[in-house]
Structure formats: C-alpha cells, structure tokens
C-alpha cells in the first residue's frame, strides 16, 4: 500500500511538471510562430470585425477556392 502511495506521489509530481511544461511550451510556440513570421495570430481578431459577406476574407480558405475552380471546370 505504501509503495503504491509513493508511486502515486511521483506520478502526480511528474505529471504536474509535464503539464506545466506543455502549458509554457504552448505560449512559447505562439510567440515563436509570430516572431518567425509563420503566423500572425493577432490579425484573427479582425475575423469578428470584418465579417460582411462581401468583404475579402482575412485568410481565404484555399480548399473552398479549389472546389469552386473544379466545379467551374466541370
């Protein structure tokens, strides 16, 4: 019984450390992606503001465009 408790305690500790690392890694990932220029997360705030149907999308969905092109070809 004591051994199980000890294992539980180690498990609990390392799991907490793991989750903390995941949390901070996610924050680092968000900032790094912006710094490298692969993503600009803040521009997505515009998705709520520029939401008229006839305005150009903030980031066009290429799948949608491809589908339309294919339809037109047919």
């Amino acid at each position: 019984m004591e051994q199980i408790r000890e294992l539980q305690a180690y498990g609990y500790f390392f799991f907490t450390v793991f989750l903390t690392v995941v949390l901070y890694a996610y924050i680092v990932h968000l900032y790094r992606a912006e710094k490298k220029g692969t993503r600009n997360y803040e521009k997505y705030g515009k998705l709520a503001l520029d939401d008229e149907l006839h305005r150009a999308p903030v980031e066009p969905n290429e799948d949608e465009d491809e589908m339309k092109e294919n339809k037109e070809k047919k």
Partner: protein, 487 residues
Amino acid sequence: MQNAALEYDYSVAKWFTYLAIIFGIVGMVVGTYIAFELAFPELNNLFGQYGTFSRLRPIHTNVVAFGFTLSGTFATFYYVAQRVLKVSIAESKTVHGIAKLHFWLYLVLAAWMVVSELMGYTTSKEYAEMEWPLDVLTVVVWVLWGIAMFGLIGMRREKTLYISMWYYIATFLGVAMLYLFNNMEVPTYFVTGMGDWMHSVSMYAGTNDALVQWWYGHNAVAFVFTVPIIAIIYYYLPKESGQPVFSYKLSLLSFWGLMFVYLWAGSHHLIYSTVPDWMQTMGSIFSIVLILPSWGSAINMLLTMKGEWNQLKESPLIKFMVLASTFYMLSTLEGPIQSIKSVNALAHFTDWIPGHVHDGTLGWVAFMIIAATLHMAPRFYKREIYSKKLMEMQFWIQTTGIVLYFSSMWIAGITQGMMWRAVDQYGNLAYSFIDTVTVLHPYYTIRATGGLLFVIGLFMWAYNFVKTMQSDRVLEKEPAFASPMGA
C-alpha cells in the same frame, strides 16, 4: 467573387431568438415564483401538485439552462458562424434544412420537457431530470446541430476559425460526451415489464452514480453556462465596440486551459461525501486552477475596451457586456473559494450556493444573451433598436435585482452554515433546523424581490425587441459596429 445578391440568412437565428425570449420569461417567472414559495410556503398550495416547489424547481432549472441559454446559444451560433466563416447558410439547402429541422425538433423537445416534468416525470438526477425518451430526442437534436455546425464549417470562405467557433465546437463536443455518459439508463418497463413506460433507472449505483452525476452536473455549468457564453462575448463585445480582441493569443491559451481544467473540477460537489478523498482534493485543486483560464478570458474582454471606456457610459449594450464579464470574474473566483475544503464545510447545502449560481447565471449568462439579441435585432430587421432609455432602465433594474439576490444569499448562506454547526459547551447542537428557517425569512423575501426585479427587466427586453421589429426607423444599411438605437 461572390454572387452580389447573396446575403446572410438570419431566419433560424431569429426563431431561436424568439425562443430565448419566451423561455427566459417562462423559466425565470417560475424561478421567482418558487423563490416566493420559500419565503411564503402557503404559495405551495395554490395549484395542487402542479404548484409545489418540488415540481416546479426542475422546470425552472431546465427551462433556464436548456431552454433559455441553449436557445440563446443556438440563435447566436446561427448568426455568428455565418459571419465569421463568411458563408450564408442559404448557400446550402441541405445545411439550411438541417438547421430548420434542428429548430423544430428542439421546440418539440423543449415543450415535451416542460409538460413531462410538470406531470411529475423525472429521473431525479439534478439537471438531468428528463426521462429516457426525451434523452433519445435530445441526442437527435444535438446531432442535427453538429451537422449544421460542421456543414457550415465545410462551406467556409474564411480559412481560420475565429475563437468563438472554437467555443461553439467545444460546447457541442463537451455536452455530447457528458450527456451520453450521465444519461445511461434502463427503461424499467421494457426490461422488467413493470411500471410506467416513461420511467427509467440509472445504470450506475450509489457513489458511482453520484460521481458520474456531478462530473456531468458541474460540466453542464461548464459547457452550457460558460463555454457558449464565452463564444458569445468573444464575438459581440468586439463587434459592438469596434475593437478587436485585446490579445488573440491569450484567447487561445485560455481556451485550452479551460478545456483541460474544467472537466476535473466536478468532484468539488462531493466534498465530505463517500467518494475517495483524493478525488475530493483533486476537485478542489482543479477548481482553484480554473481561476486562471476563466480570468484569462474575462480580462481579455475588459482589456478589449482599453481606451474606449467612454462607450461604457454611452451604450447600454456595452454596459450589459462589460458587467457580464465582471460577473464572470466574480463568479469564477467565488466558485473556487467555495470548493476549498474548509470553506466547503461551511458553504455546502447552504443558500450561498444558489447565490453563487445566480450571480453567474443572471449576471453573466442572461446579460450576455440579452445583449447579443439586442445587438442582432437591428441586423435582423434593418431597424434601429426601439429605445435606448428602456435598455438603460432594464440594465439598472436587473443589476439591482442581481445584487439583492446574491447579497441576501451570501448573508443567508453563511448564517445558515454557522447556525448548523454551532454547538454549546457540551457539544450539543445550539439550534434546531426551524431556528435557521425563522432567521432566514427576511433574506428569502429579499431574494425573491431581486428575482422579481430581474423578471420585470425581461419583460422590458421583450417589449423593446418586439417594438424594434415594428419600428419605422428603417436602416439603409447594416450597421458596422455600434448598434443604432432610438432615444
């Protein structure tokens, strides 16, 4: 690029808005009535078995949660999803048809729920009172919503899903999982040939049943009262104020934080019960950690108003939303405090708990749904909102109501908790139960009065909405940000 005549189709959003108004009034009139019953018990006898507290209480909770809040959620979903995905639901007859079917079946389910619970059919599981045939219909309704949701996502022109969509998707997935597991039940008539065909018993027994029930019960709060309302505020506050979200990155971080942490907090409902001690501790700890993602979203919303606080003075809609966000912060601090074991020893089973629930549901949930529907009204009908003054009055009357509600319940709850555990020098209980009831009477009356004020505000909301539909102040084009409103 697109067909010039194409427009967003608000039909389903409008229908769900009407339902939100109707269910808001029904659910909260019943709630206020039973609050008066607690203060004046003779009111229990007015309508025979149909008017008793025990019969009406599940109707109050179910109608406000699954009638009012979910109608508000669906109404805003069918509005927001089209806009942030830049796609009209009318572009696909199938998706539009499914959305309409979703509405009509939901209406049948909601009506059946009210009638069956009034007749006394209940599983006796809190917030999961609906009997098995209604549960089956719930699954159908929910799946239809999912098809409409992912149908719209599949048609989108906007590649990235706005944060509100993440929260709507989480609502869909979270409720689906919780609902299925907690409502596993055995229809007694079909298995044993005995009893009423509507009746069922839970598949779980004893402590296991309690654990599954509160895993569900607390997460019903999470995925009905929190997650979809965050979806709503992340769209409507930026849009009404014309300000982009303060930090989109913070919104993402808060999202994942909330998703991970919330699901573990339910066992705080079972502190000092027969569930394993480690599980109770886990519930407490996760509840405390939950402050972080909750406040992450709330602070993000308040900071969105940075440099624009003049709007708080000028627009009643902004007032509703900023106060909603503030109540969300209050509520998500109060809940974790109540889940600390030593505080829970005092607070559990007292009126402090409904006090806590109501500063969240009235201040956060109802205020956001009210604000969202009034923001949509000028876009639905191409008319100005009928009266700004009426909205201002509604805001102050309802805020007063909420303050009366939670302050009276704080005092009542703590008084009750202290009296229950007071002992004399020999360890005998100092008070009998009726002593607490006598002491609490004035607070129960104040609470019911607070509820009454809130309900008066709901009628003002409904009146303002209907008058907006009929207003002759027609708008030439859809307003971009702040909703135009008549004096």
